[in-house]
Symmetry: C2
Subunit: 323 residues, 2 copies
């Protein structure tokens, strides 16, 4: 039997894992009943600390996330893990990294792991990921770790507005740090050089610290992103990383920036839902008889240019809404 | 003195390269006068054959593009090259690959090369790239090659609707083909195994051919994507590649699919302009006093959930448009 939105809501607040999993599936399927449950759950969210974990593939983010989750469990804090992979069409199932984790974390009812694939919808993935963060937040998870598979543009968008964003790198083959791309330096609150037993680790740390020091627009009172060295596989450096996350949280609370970050996050979330919504409305209008096909035909016949055609669709949308 | 849209239009039709370059810069800056010139130029476009060139970084796309351009020049056909790099914030200037090419192709007035960076606007890059394709098309280029730096999702979107899409790979380290990711097999009309002197090339060709044969939904009359081996640096296989492009063009014309592809392309272009347009309208609404900030505050205070807040913005937009 299918649960009503209210059933799911009630069960979720009581800590029913299967209800949480079902609601997430409804979110992924863009089921209208998910909207209802999300609406009811919203006032219960806001308690969790949201941690983003990004960096190049192979830098060891999955192992780091797993070790961090175990650290929190040892402190008796509950953990949600969302693994975002825009390049994978799969959703819900266990990705490779998950399988490793599941062996380590399975059986612990206080750890909730979920993978999010693309399903072909770029904008949709960000929105769905935010929905799942909110669900796990309302579900009472103390820490929610959003881990990305790579560090592509979609992935950076997804972790950009977390409370604490961790950027993971590793020593490069030569004297360079891998995967510190344009845009990623700006979003990191904590930097990790993982696989720190490899050649070039001290150099990687020094390079990173130099890059961070010369970052423009840094004021006296601003947070100074620390660079932590870890060996995630051996479990080394995890306590230091967790301490840095705590310190960052403390800084956010004391400086009043937690509030500001929450507002930024809400704004970004609202904008993404809006973008998805208006884009879908536009796409649907193009599907309507006599609108899209006719305009495209006129474009192909070189009667109207694409920008003017887009103006006509907008006119049509507004006219229809005004009816 | 600044040229008027009409001046640019007139000069461009007369073959003035500097006018073409200036108009492209206006497009990149989203200058309103670009819209006017694009509108006038539209009816002069449609003659060029648009070739997409994508594949993983390091597979040799730049060299291949350069060799292909020289091949067309030997046949006295004019060439436009657009190099799309979503990860680069730069636009207009010469990227690394361009510099190599420029040495080889510079001084030839019938080759026009342009790089397109991201400028931070994802949706914007696709739209701007389409505008530049249309400009070079109206400028009279016989072949327009759109080359991407990598094979990310934005890059695939950019080459997906070209007339002939070439996917470039190279033999992997072991027995696998590099960079044939989900989604890229579907968009290729021609596959190239470049650096075919490397170990594993025959295996890479065989693997690709097998993947293509088992591709679902292929009918008898459909185009069978060939797999071409090249050594771009040595100029080997370029004639075969050019012949495959010709054959594909011939197939498109005879089957009536050229028309269909043009329509698909127009539709995709229209949709992207629409998405950009409505997204910007939504974003601007959020900036307005008393709309965005107020809603975000209510979201942060857990009074309203993000999806309901998005509904309110849409209501506001429609109400305002109806005034």
């Amino acid at each position: 039997m299918k649960d009503s939105p209210n059933d799911l809501y009630q069960k979720l607040l009581k800590g029913d894992r299967r209800a949480a999993a079902r609601l997430i599936t409804l979110v992924e399927n863009a089921d209208p009943s998910a909207r209802q449950a999300l609406k009811m759950l919203h006032r219960h969210s806001g308690g969790g600390h949201i941690v983003g974990m990004t960096g190049s593939p192979g830098s060891g983010k999955s192992t780091l996330t797993c070790r961090l989750a175990r650290h929190y469990r040892d402190e008796d804090r509950s953990v949600g893990i969302i693994c975002v992979d825009p390049s994978s069409p799969f959703t819900g199932g266990a990705l490779l990294g998950d399988r490793v984790r599941m062996q380590e974390l399975s059986g612990d009812p206080e750890v909730f792991i979920r993978s999010m694939g693309s399903r072909g919808a770029l904008g949709g993935l960000s929105v769905a990921t935010n929905d799942v963060i909110n669900i796990l937040d309302a579900f009472g998870k103390d820490v929610i770790i959003v881990e990305t598979v790579g560090a592509g543009q979609v992935e950076i968008e997804v972790v950009k507005y977390t409370h604490t964003c961790i950027v993971v790198t590793m020593p490069g083959g030569g004297d360079e740090i891998q995967a510190i791309k344009a845009g990623i330096l700006e979003i990191g609150d904590i930097f990790v050089v993982n696989k720190s037993d490899r050649d070039g680790a001290p150099r990687a740390v020094a390079d990173l610290e130099m890059m961070l020091e010369t970052k423009p627009g840094t004021s006296e009172e601003a947070w100074k992103p620390p660079v932590i060295t870890t060996m995630a596989l051996a479990g080394e450096g995890i306590d230091e990383l967790a301490a840095a996350i705590s310190a960052h949280r403390g800084f956010l609370v004391e400086s009043g920036l937690l509030e500001e970050k929450t507002v930024q996050r809400m704004r970004a979330e609202l904008l993404e839902i809006l973008n998805l919504k208006v884009s879908r409305a536009a796409e649907n209008a193009l599907e309507e008889e006599g609108v899209g096909a006719e305009l495209v035909r006129r474009m192909a016949d070189r009667e109207i240019d694409p920008h003017s055609a887009a103006d006509e669709v907008v006119e049509y949308l507004l006219k229809r809404a005004g009816r």
